[in-house]
């Protein structure tokens, strides 16, 4: 708790206390803590002189922000058009089945988050899957197991 609070205050100190700082602050908080806790919402609201519901209202609008702690690794399956046309949905289905987690949730053992992303911009090499910050291209259902096994 204490460490989180310290980290939070550091972030808040880096930005001017104005409305336009809200999203960069949220991004910075999530980059450090992995998610936006209710504590964070409270502190940010105070620092920017906004209500908690205003902060939450902005944060919940954007797909980037999450409100539960992340799993150890994040799997992003791109479901953009080029990836869709080359079988992206099948990859998502396979991962959902193999990991036993629905899209937008985490595996029960806390190992993986499984999310959908609209487009990573590597369209010429679709379908694309990102795990943490590693991007894999021309992925097939056969390759998925090998990719996923590389992340403990």
């Amino acid at each position: 708790m204490g460490a989180e609070n310290q980290s939070l205050q550091m972030v808040l100190g880096q930005f001017p206390a104005e409305a336009g700082s809200l999203i960069p602050i949220l991004q910075s908080v999530q980059a450090r803590a992995g998610y936006i806790s209710s504590q964070a919402v409270c502190e940010i609201a105070q620092a920017l002189r906004l209500t908690e519901s205003q902060v939450y209202g902005v944060a919940s609008f954007y797909a980037q922000f999450r409100f539960t702690p992340p799993a150890r690794h994040g799997i992003c399956v791109c479901l953009g058009t080029a990836c869709h046309v080359r079988g992206g949905e099948r990859l998502m289905e396979t991962l959902q089945r193999e990991l036993g987690a629905a899209m937008g949730t985490s595996t029960s053992d806390g190992r993986f988050d499984l999310v959908r992303v609209a487009c990573l911009g590597c369209c010429a090499l679709s379908p694309v899957v990102k795990v943490d910050s590693d991007i894999y291209s021309s992925v097939t259902t056969m390759k998925l197991k090998g990719i996923v096994n590389g992340y403990e």
Partner: protein, 1039 residues
């Protein structure tokens, strides 16, 4: 103004860069954009550095941006020893080491491994990179530096005349600057195409002491990544443009709003901005001009709608990214209520060059009203995917086929403009790529994403996909978009699940038009474009999903059991019989297969196996050898005398049906009618039954006894086959009705050989293809010469050629006017023909048959062809090359260039509707315009495949049954699909061995004999092959 510091930096930079370019020290270029990295560039970089270290090689390693052909990534280029820079494609870590050692140590550049070079002259037989088909038509203006400079070095940008545009701009008045941009007629490249100069003018003229300049780098269109590539490959190009724009409008502060999903681009941008600060290109009094500007980066947070101007502004202000009503437009009231210009990355990337070279220079590219160049991404099912830049005005056909190489499988359509755009079918291929033309075609230019689609793409699924995307990204503020998109998504989902109704299509159109007219912002206003365009251009697919519960592309999984079964024209239960073979239950396999197809042994030898083309096993290694397995059970049934146990109606019907033509379509029709309890008489003009199966296909492909055994099974059901009876001559069509037949099925096929249309065609020694094969198959050997030319590239031509080789011709030559890949005949047939000594001359067509004094063939004059423009199918039309005639010395010519139907005799007493090519016009069920007369097979479709004829026969039988009973609700048992009861271990790994290839008779034994070429297989081999099946029919609910 004081540019002295910048100028001296530039001098140094130029020298350094020239040094680099001269490659006195070898330079290794690595494609290090996000695409390159996704393809494995990091591993390549590691290997490169390691190799240079180990071998103590001196070289500079430069990580550069994307040069365009992403499908070739990872790309590694080497410039060394004064040679031009050479590019190597699809390089792995191992390749990188090999190539480096070969070139830098042994001075062997491995030309065979190279994809292109960047020099001007010829070099080592390697093609010039910019002459490659994908690059040739491109004009790289905004992308000029990508792939050629290190994007993280300001000095590289300076060396290529970077910030010269800014210098010139700062020396002009803002009004003159705006005038120049207006004169260039550059239009916003974000999608709407609004004239950039005009937008700047509005903002300049707006009242306000502080103004903002924003670069919209929120490239949200899935499929578009050109902005990302530009920022990653040449960030300063965008920033210089931004600065020029800011000066023009009088802004003192600005932002780059960039998607968080582009971390590498953000990183490069940050670095570039820091570099600008270092040399005084940002901050107060830039270059001593009096102009001050500060720039910040704002990252998007994953909302597509924030690409819309007002939503973007709200996001910067720290609010929910929801758009607002316009007017007022951002140019007058934008960020924080101040006048703001928002320009796209590509627009800004071009501005500096327009200022440097002038508006007139820019207008030399493109066409009036659409000047300049535009970047596009070619993605999806194209052969050559990547990023390109072309002058506007080029046709879609040029982009997709010339540059993109066409679709991998037959082209179906292209989607342009992202979720705001439309799906265009092949008839739009001549649309020039211009803002207005694309809008008129029902799509938009958009940000430039081009998604190529082929026959494996379901257009209903695509409409559903885009609607789902818009529904998910809708901000929710206005009702039409929020509710309309989710309602349309729900309807489309129902259609894809097989629960659609006719009324749904009208609902989609109505809701779509409302959403378009009443939504608050561009997202809603264009959300309906994909569905409205797919409905307009691909309506048939929607109707198939609704009326027939059929997804022809094999995508909507609730509509079919497995892709193989779905691709089969007859809908054979492929997983059913294959899984039974895998379990060793051969008899069950036979009965399952025979339910839908009486011709197992036949199809097992000659079918064009659409099932195998769609087999999911293709994604692992090769398809399951379904055709071979089908032959196995067909032959087994005959060998072990297993009588078919198929569904047969318990009631006997009083009506008798006449079937004209004992070919595959007629016999199949008889087969199903007999099972439905009808009396059937088949009337056949030839002395044998079987149609093309008997007289068109040679015995070495389909032995006569094999065919006869399966025809016998049809007779065993009570069908009467009367040969040597020609309807139209021996008995009139009308008489059949008076004889008591209640319905007639016409399956007479196509037996007329098309003429070549050249002089000398009627000489002795010219024997039409189908006639020739018929005579040989009927045992009426014809006199053939020693040297024979067969004209054509389909199965008839190849059958004729292989038959001639067996009959003792010394030299058989096939002459075909297109390329080998385009020959319609089966690839393995062509290969076997060549093994048997048949010669194939491609890209040639006959112009005249040469005749001797006795009127006999003595040769054939041909002309060489070259491939011209693309047609709508993506095939190049062959065009004769002038003065390219050559003569073939032959004494026999067999034209096999196509067939035609002639039913005039048959229908002398009736007015049957025919098509222009003589085929009978039928509806989806097989009904002709004459009540009681039905048709199918080649005589109705044109020359087609056996399995399609079989499917037509089945449809005809059902249509006749419906006609005679008046009952349209009947369920036909053989049409009901259910999952195979064969066991399946879903957790097991697929078996790893490759596809079975049955042995072929050795070539030496094939000549002079019509013994079957493909050998049969054993039970063990069949089981093993069947176990390769992935059981796509399996569903988890089945316990």
């Amino acid at each position: 103004m004081d540019t002295s510091r910048l100028d001296s930096l530039r001098e140094l930079a130029r020298k350094d860069f020239a040094n680099l370019a001269s490659a006195k020290v070898p330079v290794v270029y690595l494609g290090a954009g996000s695409c390159g990295k996704a393809a494995g560039a990091d591993a390549v970089k590691k290997a490169v550095l390691a190799t240079l270290e180990e071998r103590k090689l001196r070289a500079q390693v430069l990580e550069v941006g994307c040069v365009g052909p992403c499908y070739l990534e990872p790309l590694m280029d080497i410039a060394a020893f004064g040679n031009p820079r050479i590019s190597y494609a699809n390089v792995s870590a191992e390749h990188a080491t090999q190539i480096l050692e070969s070139y830098l140590v042994r001075r062997d550049p491995m030309p065979g491994r190279a994809v292109g070079h960047f020099g001007d002259a010829e070099f080592a037989g390697i093609p010039r990179f910019f002459d490659l088909p994908m690059l040739k038509a491109q004009k790289r203006i905004v992308l000029r530096n990508c792939g050629f400079i290190d994007p993280e070095r300001l000095d590289h940008y300076l060396a290529t005349d970077g910030y010269e545009g800014l210098k010139k701009a700062l020396g002009m008045s803002p009004d003159a600057l705006i005038e120049e941009i207006t004169k260039s007629q550059i239009r916003g490249r974000g999608g709407a195409g609004f004239p950039t100069g005009k937008k700047w003018r509005f903002c300049r003229d707006a009242k306000g002491d502080s103004k903002y300049m924003i670069c919209n780098a929120d490239e949200g269109d899935p499929g578009a990544f050109m902005n990302r590539s530009l920022i990653e490959g040449d960030p300063h190009a965008v920033l210089e443009g931004l600065l020029i724009a800011a000066y023009a409008i009088g802004a003192s502060s600005g932002y780059v709003y960039i998607r968080a999903e582009y971390p590498l681009a953000i990183q490069r941008l940050c670095k570039a901005i820091a570099q600008m600060h270092e040399v005084g290109l940002l901050g107060t009094d830039i270059l001593g001009s009096g102009f001050s500007f500060d720039l910040h980066i704002k990252e998007g947070a994953g909302a597509f709608v924030c690409g819309e101007e007002t939503a973007l502004i709200h996001s910067i202000e720290g609010k929910r990214g929801m758009p607002r009503m316009r007017p007022p437009f951002p140019a007058t009231s934008g960020l924080h209520g101040k006048p703001t210009v928002i320009n796209n990355v590509e627009t800004l990337g071009t501005v500096a060059q327009i200022v440097r070279h002038g508006a007139d220079w820019y207008r030399q590219f493109g066409v009036p009203g659409n000047y300049g160049t535009k970047t596009f991404s070619i993605v999806g099912k194209a052969k050559r995917t990547g990023m390109i830049e072309v002058p506007l005005g080029i046709k879609l056909r040029g982009l997709i086929f010339e540059i993109g190489g066409g679709a991998i499988k037959p082209f179906k359509g292209v989607q342009t403009g992202g979720p705001s755009g439309g799906c265009l079918s092949e008839r739009f291929l001549d649309t020039p790529v211009e803002y207005e033309s694309l809008a008129a075609a029902g799509s938009i230019m958009g940000s430039g994403g081009l998604i190529v689609m082929d026959e494996d793409t379901c257009m209903v699924d695509i409409a559903r996909y885009f609607m789902g995307f818009c529904a998910a990204e809708s901000c929710g503020k206005c009702t039409p978009c929020r509710i309309g998109t989710s309602q349309m998504q729900a309807i489309l989902k129902r259609i894809c699940d097989g629960n659609g109704t006719e009324a749904d299509l009208g609902a989609l159109e109505r809701i779509g038009k409302t959403v378009k007219a009443a939504s608050l912002c561009g997202l809603g206003q264009t959300a309906a474009n994909p569905i409205l365009s797919t409905l307009r251009n691909f309506r048939k697919e929607f109707e198939e999903h609704i009326k027939h519960k059929r997804c022809r592309a094999g995508v909507c999984q609730n509509l079919f059991l497995s892709p193989c079964q779905n691709a089969c024209p007859v809908g054979m239960d492929v997983p059913g019989y294959v899984s039974m073979i895998a379990a060793g239950r051969f008899e069950d396999a036979i009965h399952i297969a025979r339910e839908t197809n009486p011709f197992l042994s036949v199809c097992g030898r000659i079918c064009d196996h659409q099932c195998m083309l769609k087999c999911r096993r293709n994604q692992i290694d090769e398809p399951v050898a379904v055709r071979v397995l089908k032959r196995f059970i067909g032959d087994l049934a005959r060998d072990r005398r297993i009588a078919p146990k198929v569904w047969v109606s318990s009631e006997r019907r009083p009506e008798r049906i006449a079937v004209i033509g004992a070919g595959p379509s007629g016999l199949t029709c008889a087969y199903f009618l007999a099972r439905l309890g009808y009396g059937v008489t088949v009337l056949e003009r030839l002395p044998v039954a079987g149609g093309m199966l008997a007289v068109g296909i040679p015995a070495y492909r389909l032995p006569k006894d094999v065919l006869e055994a399966e025809i016998q099974l049809i007779r065993d059901l009570g069908v009467e086959i009367r040969t040597r009876t020609t309807v139209g001559r021996d008995v009139r069509l009308g008489e059949l009705f008076s004889q008591g037949f209640k319905a007639i099925y016409v399956g007479v096929g196509m037996y007329g050989d098309r003429a070549m249309g050249v002089p000398g065609e009627n000489a002795a020694g010219v024997i039409q293809g189908v006639d020739f094969l018929t005579d040989v198959n009927m045992g009426k050997r014809r006199e053939i010469g020693r040297r024979v030319a067969v004209i054509g590239g389909g199965n008839t031509a190849v059958d004729a050629a292989r038959t001639l080789a067996r009959l003792g011709a010394e030299q058989v030559t096939i002459v075909y006017r297109r390329t080998r890949e385009e020959m319609p005949a089966f690839a393995d047939e062509i290969r076997e023909a060549e093994q048997e000594g048949v010669r194939i001359i491609l890209l040639a067509a006959p112009t005249r048959v040469l005749v001797d004094e006795h009127g006999r063939v003595k040769g054939i004059e041909c002309q060489t062809m070259k491939l011209g423009d693309f047609d709508n199918k993506g095939r190049r039309v062959p065009v004769p090359l002038p003065s390219s005639e050559f003569t073939l010395d032959v004494d026999t010519v067999i034209p096999a260039v196509g067939e035609f139907a002639d039913v005039r005799d048959l229908f002398r007493d009736h007015t049957v509707k025919t098509q222009r090519d003589g085929t009978i016009e039928i509806d989806d069920e097989g009904r002709t315009n004459i009540p009681g007369i039905f048709s199918g097979g080649d005589v109705a479709f044109g020359a087609s495949t056996v399995i399609k004829a079989i499917a037509a026969g089945e449809r005809g039988a059902v249509a006749i049954d419906r006609y005679l009973t008046g009952d349209c609700t009947r369920v036909y048992p053989w049409r009901v699909r259910s999952r195979s009861p064969a066991p399946f271990n879903v957790g097991a790994e697929p078996v790893a061995y490759p596809m079975l290839r049955p042995a072929l008779l050795p070539v030496a034994e094939r000549s002079k004999s019509f013994v079957e070429v493909q050998e049969s297989i054993s039970s063990e081999v069949a089981i093993k092959e069947a176990q390769r099946c992935l059981r796509c029919d399996y569903r988890e609910e089945e316990v």
